[in-house]
Homo-oligomer: 193 residues x 2
């Protein structure tokens, strides 16, 4: 067998912060906005994970920061990636099997649809469809945060999001009857591998 990877670097919040910094200096606040606008849709992170991540990165010498005083506003801690940080990022990007996890209260709930009223089910479905529409609309307005926003990777990912959201909409619209009607209905969309 091939030797196990010496020191596995996960694609976690720390690593994504490192990646953002390859595009230029930024504060924790800047990164939070970036997570909100784009990354957060497939890799959520709040202050509770960003600030500790930056603190750990700084402690390990993977980033440096300088405190920039501002007039009328709190000081900014502006972070920069170091050479050690770049090396660590490279390690993380060499993991050949990154995960793609879903945690869906929605699907878990639908498993218990037989314990719900039709009214409850319809409300949940309608809300989910509305949410998907908002998401698609948001993607159309494309608020890319990275300076190099037009890079192939982010285009691929945005297209991915658009495609998945549209697919979900279609599946839900065409199969929602299954959940509320008591007579036997089959899946309307059959899929070949």
């Amino acid at each position: 067998m091939p030797a196990a990877l010496a020191d596995d670097v996960a694609m976690d919040v720390k690593t994504v912060c490192l990646g953002m910094l390859t595009d230029g200096p930024a504060s924790g606040y800047d990164m939070k906005k970036c997570f909100e606008s784009t990354f957060g849709h497939f890799f959520p992170a709040g202050y509770g994970s960003i600030y500790p991540a930056l603190a750990t990165l700084a402690r390990n010498g993977l980033v440096e920061f300088e405190e920039v005083p501002q007039e009328g506003k709190p000081d900014r801690k502006v972070y920069n990636i170091t050479d050690a940080g770049r090396a660590e990022l490279d390690k993380a990007l060499s993991n050949p099997t990154p995960t793609h996890k879903v945690r869906s209260e929605f699907l878990a709930m639908m498993c218990f649809a037989h314990l719900m009223t039709d009214e409850q089910i319809n409300e949940v479905i309608d809300n989910k469809l509305t949410e998907l529409d908002s998401f698609l609309k948001l993607l159309d307005e494309l608020p890319i945060c990275q300076a190099d926003g037009s890079n192939k990777g982010t285009q691929f990912v945005a297209g991915f999001g658009r495609f998945v959201a549209s697919s979900l909409k279609r599946y839900i619209n065409e199969n929602r009857d299954m959940l509320t009607q008591s007579d036997t209905k089959d899946l309307k969309i059959a899929v070949g591998n």
Copy 2:
């Protein structure tokens, strides 16, 4: 405005365990198998969350358990849902906006594709496609864990999984060139809302 929900019950591991118990008594080990076979694909949970969840549910009187001795094997703690537990589950199922979250190291990594070699990118993509194939194959063998496995909800959710996995495969296959070729290529799949 409508009064805020008195005591928000989240659709968390505790609640899913309650839901599983509406189908009959089960041990933590049984539930883990159920998470592994079906639920885990869209709502993962390991021993580290299942056992504490059951302990909390028992402490709050939402489930009861009896220890069943076995020959040659460790004792089983067999759990049953109580009336209070059923009421709690009903509360959780009345939440009209259950979440659907994605956490994708894969997409995060693809955002930094410009920092990777074509070889690295292709390996990641190939692995992801293989993973999706395994998932689709697994769904075709349908190891439903609930006695009432043929209920509409689980059928809807299984179809959902199949549809999403096939969509992902298609998107990745048709757009992977974007990531590795240096000349400008556009998305091959355009989607209307």
